[in-house]
């Protein structure tokens, strides 16, 4: 008989893990609360640094997970620990007995309304990174379509590295995402001036530095080291942004047609809807707490509960996929150890 493995979350980590587990002869049961698979990536346009279309990645992963049991529009109500297994109760009335649960609940984008001073929801010219991706994907957005678009700005670290916003952690991927989006925007509007306001640029991944150089050299994106602290509107209905150019040591102000807020990643607040006997405690960074963050990042404190992807911290797409695979290996070895 094939062993059940419940996977919470049908994003890229969940999909990859489901495909790999099925390949190893397990019976993965994938639970996704939205009506579609792929998580945030399903709304994304293309991926850094090679501008691969996100929908290709998602469809490959969905195809790989085809043999898994997949429940969309379904939430996990609660998980209770029994003698040697878990009882997972789903919102569609299904109750699953399983020895292993893989938590791949991912992240949520910081709600940019909470940074009052940036005027998201107040000014028509202020959007978020996610809004911009949707527009790249062809969904009309009057905030972008209606403006003259001669200049745009990206504000890094919105709701990340920000104690006031309750998230002091670096969200890690926003720097490179901003570079990517700036390049894409430049491709659409070659005449546009594009500015990036950053606190520190963190170009840590493979070919990221090249991508950054290309943004400067090939696309003329301008980088200013200074965090935006105030956004106001002028009489023409454009936004006036205030920051300090910390390298020059002078305050700067600039008038823009579009301001993109790079909302950071925060942990999904609820892994399961109601509390059962199994809890998912948060670490000091707000993300889920793993057994240790060097070698046992896949394991939770409870035997049989595993983690994959950005539920334990901000991660890039390749990192998430790699973690999903390693989680599958951990689960496989764990089952073998039980026999």
């Amino acid at each position: 008989m094939r062993e059940n493995v419940v996977i919470i979350g049908g994003g890229i980590a969940g999909l990859e893990a489901a495909g790999q587990l099925a390949g190893l002869g397990y019976n993965p049961i994938l639970v996704e609360k939205e009506d579609h698979l792929g998580g945030h990536l399903a709304d994304w346009h293309c991926l850094f640094p090679d501008l691969i279309p996100a929908k290709d990645v998602v469809s490959t992963l969905v195809a790989g997970a085809a043999s898994a049991n997949i429940f969309t529009n379904t939430e996990v109500l609660h998980i209770n620990r029994l003698q040697d297994c878990y009882n997972v109760m789903l919102s569609n009335g299904v109750s699953v007995m399983t020895k292993a649960v893989l938590c791949a609940t991912g992240f949520r984008l910081f709600d940019a309304h909470k940074k009052e001073e940036y005027g998201y929801g107040v000014y028509d010219q202020v959007i978020t990174n996610s809004d911009l991706e949707k527009w790249f994907n062809g969904i009309p957005d009057p905030r972008i379509d209606n403006s003259m678009m001669s200049s745009a700005g990206f504000v890094h670290c919105v709701g990340s590295r920000d104690e006031k916003a309750g998230n002091p952690q670096c969200s890690k991927v926003c720097c490179i995402t901003a570079v990517k989006q700036a390049i894409e925007l430049k491709k659409k509007f070659p005449e546009m001036m594009v500015w990036c306001f950053y606190m520190d640029l963190r170009m840590f991944g493979k070919k990221y530095e090249d991508f950054y150089i290309s943004a400067q050299r090939d696309y003329g994106v301008r980088f200013i080291r200074g965090r935006v602290s105030e956004v106001s509107e002028n009489i023409d209905g454009r936004v006036v942004v205030k920051a300090e150019d910390t390298l020059a040591g002078r305050p700067v102000r600039i008038t823009l047609d579009l301001l993109v807020l790079m909302s950071g990643m925060v942990c999904n607040p609820k892994t399961v809807r109601d509390s059962g006997t199994v809890q998912f405690p948060a670490d000091s960074d707000g993300f889920l707490k793993c057994r240790n963050s060097v070698t046992d990042f896949n394991l939770s404190a409870q035997d049989g509960i595993f983690f994959a992807g950005s539920c334990t911290g901000p991660k890039t797409v390749p990192e998430t996929i790699a973690e999903a695979r390693s989680a599958v290996l951990s689960i496989h070895n764990w089952f073998k150890g039980k026999q």
């Binding site: 909470k114 009052e116 001073e117 005027g119 929801g121 107040v122 000014y123 104690e163 006031k164 916003a165 309750g166 105030e230 956004v231 106001s232 509107e233």
Partner: protein, 607 residues
């Protein structure tokens, strides 16, 4: 009634006499010192107020209501009110009736300070005491009233929650001595009068007690020692009184006329401030009231402890307590004697020398400061520093301006000079005055007839410290109410449940409570927070505190949010950019400024 002793004297009155002379001398010396410490104009103002019949009448009424009847405490908790007024008013009546008796029966003894107190020892009952019987009854009645108060006071030490107090102050050693001597005065008086009742006469209480005594203690040997004990208890109480919290009794009688004369605290250690510090009865009501007390570690940073440390001269703690306070003013609002915890702290901060030069101390124009927009006959809008960080307010106010047809100019569209209140509350009076002077010039030069502000911090300083002849200063919540009343703005109500958060500076600071509530009633359903109006809780974001860091403020914000959502409203509404920002960070439901609510609900023909 006839006298039992020709001399009208016994040695046992000595402890009382010593105590009484000591306390009277002490109070007189203090009174002169305080009057001497007052600045000249304040002293003149105070002395003049004493001959003003209207103020004099108010003084008497206040002293009667506050010092004797404790009406303010009654409003807070009936049991606590009864405890205080039974002791104070009962004792007062005992003294008054004692004097009446002396004047009626032995008028030639009226010159002796002790005679009314120990009257029963010195007189014997004669046959014709029908009138005496009346007074005997009154005396016993008020003694019983006081004793019931003392009993409650003992009970309160054990179970303060019964009296509506979660936390009370820790007693100092001298306070304990004072407390025990006060507690023992009246039972001892009862004993002494009980032993004497068959000679001096008595009523239901003392006479009955006498019958019990005579049943097993047949002689009068016990009489004198109890009178001695009574006198000693009084003497001890009077002698320790200046060094205990009971100093509030004489101090409050000075504080009331000083307050009614309209004096303000000018120095944290002298004059009015000193009277306030000594008027603090250490009741500890401010501990529960203080928004910082949500964290146990802050319980000793409340006003009652500030007063105690000022009396002890513990400079380090005085600084700590003064700098930590949010200046929300709630302790001042609820203090039964009228100690101004916030003003006291600001005055304390002002005693420090900043040790720095500041451009604001100089005179003359500072290059780069804004130019006044020409606003002849228009409304001038001073958004304030904080509003620049809450664009939703700025945008809504502009929408409302346009809809109402009012012509307006913005004084600080591109950043202005701060209103000066943050500087003032930090204790930098001179710098603050420099800023006030420059803003005054700007406003007057603009020619505007109305100054609209949307930050209560600014509003308070504009109304309290600015002199702007011909310019009406108005907060946007009040302006909104007026616009709705006059029909210049019309809003279509929705079915949302709104709760109004009283910003400290707007409510307790400026007394604006009702206008914003009226606006919300026009917008939807108004519900109240757990504690509201003058009891509302500071959001925790106040600029008043100098030392509280973000982490500590968070606990206060969360506590205030629990309070504001007691009735489970749909939207939290406030009128202060700082509250908006602070609440918005942690709230689980929308937090909006009152202008946003109005702008969103504007009827379409207004837009």
């Amino acid at each position: 009634m006839r006298e039992r002793f020709l001399t009208g004297y016994n040695n046992f009155v000595l402890p009382f006499l010593i105590g009484m002379v000591f306390i009277l001398t002490y109070c007189l010396v203090c009174l002169f010192r305080i009057l001497h410490q007052l600045p000249h104009e304040d002293r003149k103002r105070f002395l003049l107020s004493l001959v003003n019949p209207k103020i004099l009448l108010k003084n008497i009424r206040d002293i009667f209501c506050d010092c004797l009847l404790h009406l303010k405490i009654w409003k807070r908790n009936k049991l606590l009110g009864y405890m205080h007024s039974s002791i104070a008013f009962g004792w007062f009546m005992l003294i008054v009736i004692g004097h009446i008796e002396v004047f009626l029966y032995v008028p030639h003894r009226a010159k002796f300070l002790y005679y009314p107190i120990f009257f029963r020892y010195f007189v014997a009952e004669t046959e014709s005491t029908l009138r005496g019987g009346f007074f005997f009854f009154l005396m016993d009645f008020f003694l019983l009233v006081v004793l019931s108060g003392i009993f409650l006071a003992m009970l309160k030490r054990l179970r303060s929650r019964m009296f509506g107090m979660r936390r009370t102050t820790n007693q100092s050693l001298l306070d304990t001595i004072g407390l025990y001597s006060l507690w023992s005065i009246f039972p001892l008086r009862l004993l002494a009068e009980g032993f004497t009742a068959e000679i001096s006469g008595g009523s239901f209480l003392t006479k009955s007690l006498n019958h019990v005594f005579t049943a097993f203690l047949g002689n009068h040997v016990n009489m004198l020692p109890t009178w001695w004990a009574y006198s000693i208890a009084l003497g001890v109480f009077f002698c320790v009184l200046p060094f205990t919290r009971y100093m509030h009794i004489p101090s409050e009688m000075l504080l009331i006329p000083l307050r009614n004369a309209g004096l303000k605290i000018r120095n944290a250690r002298k004059g009015l401030a000193k009277v306030q510090v000594y008027s603090c009865p250490s009741c500890g009501l401010c501990i529960d009231a203080c928004p910082m007390s949500v964290m146990k570690t802050h319980a000793k940073d409340t006003t009652v402890y500030l007063n105690r440390q000022i009396r002890r001269g513990n400079e380090k703690r005085i600084e700590e307590i003064s700098d930590k306070c949010l200046l929300c003013g709630k302790c001042t609002a609820i203090c039964p004697v009228g100690v101004q915890g916030d003003a006291l702290r600001v005055a304390q901060r002002a005693m420090r020398n900043s040790g720095m030069d500041s451009v604001w101390k100089t005179s003359g124009k500072i290059a780069g400061t804004p130019e006044p927009p020409q606003s002849q006959g228009k409304t001038l809008y001073f958004a304030g520093c904080m509003t620049a960080l809450t664009p939703s307010i700025l945008k809504s106010v502009e929408t409302l301006f346009r809809a109402s047809g009012n012509e307006y100019e913005i004084l600080d569209r591109d950043g202005g000079i701060c209103c000066g209140r943050p500087m003032m509350t930090a204790g930098r009076t001179e710098e603050a005055e420099g800023m006030i002077r420059r803003n005054t010039e700007l406003i007057l030069d603009s020619g505007a007839d109305t100054l609209l502000v949307s930050c209560p911090i600014c509003y308070r300083v504009f109304t309290e410290n600015y002199n702007l002849p011909g310019v009406r200063v108005v907060h946007h919540s009040v302006w909104l109410k007026e616009m709705l009343d006059s029909g210049a703005l019309e809003i279509a109500p929705d079915n949302q449940r709104y709760v109004w958060h009283d910003p400290c500076e707007l409510g307790r600071g400026c007394g604006i409570y009702e206008q914003p509530r009226e606006v919300l009633k026009a917008a939807g359903e108004l519900v109240e927070a757990g504690m509201h109006h003058k009891e509302s809780l500071c959001c925790g974001g106040s600029l008043g505190s100098l030392t509280l860091n973000f982490e500590k403020r968070r606990a206060m914000t969360q506590n205030a949010l629990e309070n504001i959502t007691a009735e489970n409203p749909d939207v939290i509404v406030t009128g202060c950019p700082l509250c908006l920002n602070t609440f918005g960070r942690f709230a689980d439901r929308p937090v909006k400024d009152i202008s946003e609510i109005a702008a969103a609900l504007l009827k379409s023909d207004c837009k």
